[in-house]
Symmetry: none
Subunit: 121 residues, 4 copies
DNA sequence: GTGGTCTAGACCACA
DNA sequence: GTGGTCTAGACCACC
């Protein structure tokens, strides 16, 4: 993984984990990698991982059990809220960019409609 | 303006100018700021701006006149192609991000439809 | 090597390398001298060589591998097209000069025919 | 006219005039422009023109008459020799360049034959 | 004033 | 070591 040097690394790791949780790659109850393990994998100081995990815990997305590790929360409401908020951010970002390019909402809608129509995933 | 340290500065300047051209903030025939002027404004070396302008000229989006300055092309086809390609990039990016979050095309469509309906910009 | 002060140095270096590639002195896959090496040899700034290499890469005649060096493309079509276009330029130049001297095509043909006949290289 | 800064300017003017004489644009007996006139036209010091004319006279291609001006020689032999020698130079140059590109004499002949065939000037 | 080229020297990422 | 980017500052041709 590459880190954008503008955002603090721990923030980028948080976003990475949030995305995985929201997408269901990490489900409720799943164990996150240990701090040392992930630190090694991402070639980052363990303190940085620690800080990311703490922040996720503060937001209620994960919980830690002494001696056991860190786990994704099982509260469905939390997970749904997370998914929604991340999606909202992506959508807003998208719309803002399109507006910058001079497209109005109707045009945006048309383009998405076409794309969905042709792919049918 | 802030520069993201991952992409080369000259690339970011190119993108900035492309967006402005595509959005019509810079119309056909408009004069771009002089190399030195923009360099001063963006706190960047004139050579860096020079490189950006040259790349834009190579792509046919601007043309230069010695001793006169650099100007946005008047070819409508170029500008339309630019707008299309930039939009395509933004849309694809958006869809990719949404897929990463676990949304399928139908869900994406619904969200956009709602958004267009409620704002009516 | 001497540089003609009319054309930019980087252009002349491009032409030099193109000729060597077209003539087969540099074959597909061959490594070009490193930027710094050639700069030293031609008594030119490394940036100037860099620019030449980049232009050649843009034209698809060479490709670069980070940390490895710059190499002549292996695509035969590219190399053949290059040889053809360079030859066309030389021939046209020649014919133009002969026309300036007041020779017509038939006379030019005769001169070349004689030359080929006597040398048989 | 542009001057290539490698060759002395007076040499370049000599070549220019030789070409015009050889091509018949300046015929035997024609008056060359006055030194001052040509100097003004080419934005060059009159001494430079003077030197060019002297050299041409030394080679027997022009002659000067006090108070009248400088004229192209009427000796046909001189003019023919000039045309031949200039042509020889152009041809040799051409062949050398083609050899550099890796073409042999037969290939050169073929290319010229095709070109003459299609244009029929 | 404008853009275009070049140098000298620096720092980076990659291998 | 390699190529890639950037800065600082210079000189040029053109207008």
């Amino acid at each position: 993984m590459q880190f954008d040097s503008n955002l603090p690394i721990y923030t980028q790791i948080i976003n990475l984990l949030k995305t995985q949780i929201a997408a269901g790659k990490l489900s409720g109850g799943d164990k996150l990698p240990s701090v040392r393990e992930l630190a090694k994998e991402l070639k980052v100081n363990p303190n940085t991982i620690q800080r990311s995990y703490q922040e996720l815990e503060r937001e209620g997305l994960v919980f830690t059990q002494r001696g056991m590790g860190t786990f994704v929360t099982q509260e469905q409401t939390k997970m749904q809220a997370l998914k929604k908020s991340l999606a909202l951010e992506v959508v807003n970002n998208f719309v803002t960019n399109m507006h910058k390019l001079g497209f109005n909402n109707k045009e945006i809608f048309t383009m998405i409609a076409e794309l969905v129509g042709e792919e049918k995933k």
